[in-house]
Symmetry: C2
DNA sequence: CTAGTTGCAAAGAGTTTGCATGGCG
DNA sequence: CGCCATGCAAACTCTTTGCAACTAG
């Protein structure tokens, strides 16, 4: 099946590209794009096709029953493992060296070939960790 | 708020315990427990409270728009990183040594404190990797 | 011109909630 | 007994789908 390049698909791609690594719901994306003339259904349909291409992932958050989408299509993003802080919600890129190291370690010790683009490590980032330490009397 | 120990909550806990690391939808769980006398709403309510306690996580799969729940409450499970194969869907436990190693590596190189129980590395397991190699002419 | 895409509205699926009843402590 | 939990059904929210109109190639 051929894929046409429509105005709507382009708005969506542009938007996702400029918000890479952010987690957004379909409704939020549609709202942000209101004015660009793209309907909610088109957002869903295009997200689904991007997901099939592996450029977008679905994410869930503990306690929050919504589904978020995250764009990781840029080459730059696909080469890193993502570190997601559960305190501040930000996502960081693991540096290339560490990523390679982990990749090799897991492959050697576990015989498991990890998928960088789709792996997200949850935890607490340095800043929040510090904040946590100091606030705890 | 106090928590009562009811027959339904017990059935659910027992079921989850004996299916740790499996990914199941609320409907599947309710279906498996039909006969135990637990309603779908009770399943949802109890899963939500288990999620708040951090014993259960919500999972999404690429291409599949359902939400799956995974029990990882057992101590044993919380100490490992989980490796999930996107081919066969199975989840494996990373051995303790490698888990510690990764944990330290990420902490030192990235200043990030990972959360073992909530981290799932996606990829392809050894068996599926082999199968893939041979099938590809 | 043909086939993929869009918007809208309706249909569906999954999840949550209100309320009366039942059960734990 | 008091309060939390359960069932059932209604209410909702989010997502998908049907269809006619539209547009890229």
């Amino acid at each position: 099946m051929k894929v046409y390049s429509t105005k709507q698909r382009k708005s969506l791609s542009d938007y996702l590209l400029s918000h890479r690594d952010e987690e957004m719901t379909a409704a939020e994306i549609a709202a942000a794009l209101r004015g660009e003339g793209i309907s909610l259904s088109a957002v869903y349909r295009n997200l689904a096709s991007l997901e099939e291409e592996g450029l977008v992932q679905r994410i869930t958050r503990a306690g929050d029953r919504k589904i978020f989408f995250r764009f990781s299509g840029a080459e730059e993003c696909r080469e890193h493992i993502h570190l997601r802080c559960r305190k501040c919600g930000k996502t960081f890129h693991m540096d290339a060296g560490t990523t390679d190291l982990l990749d090799e370690t897991v492959a050697e010790n576990c015989g498991f070939k990890m998928d960088r683009a789709e792996t997200v490590i949850n935890g607490v980032c340095g800043d929040c960790e510090k904040a946590e330490q100091t606030s705890k009397k």
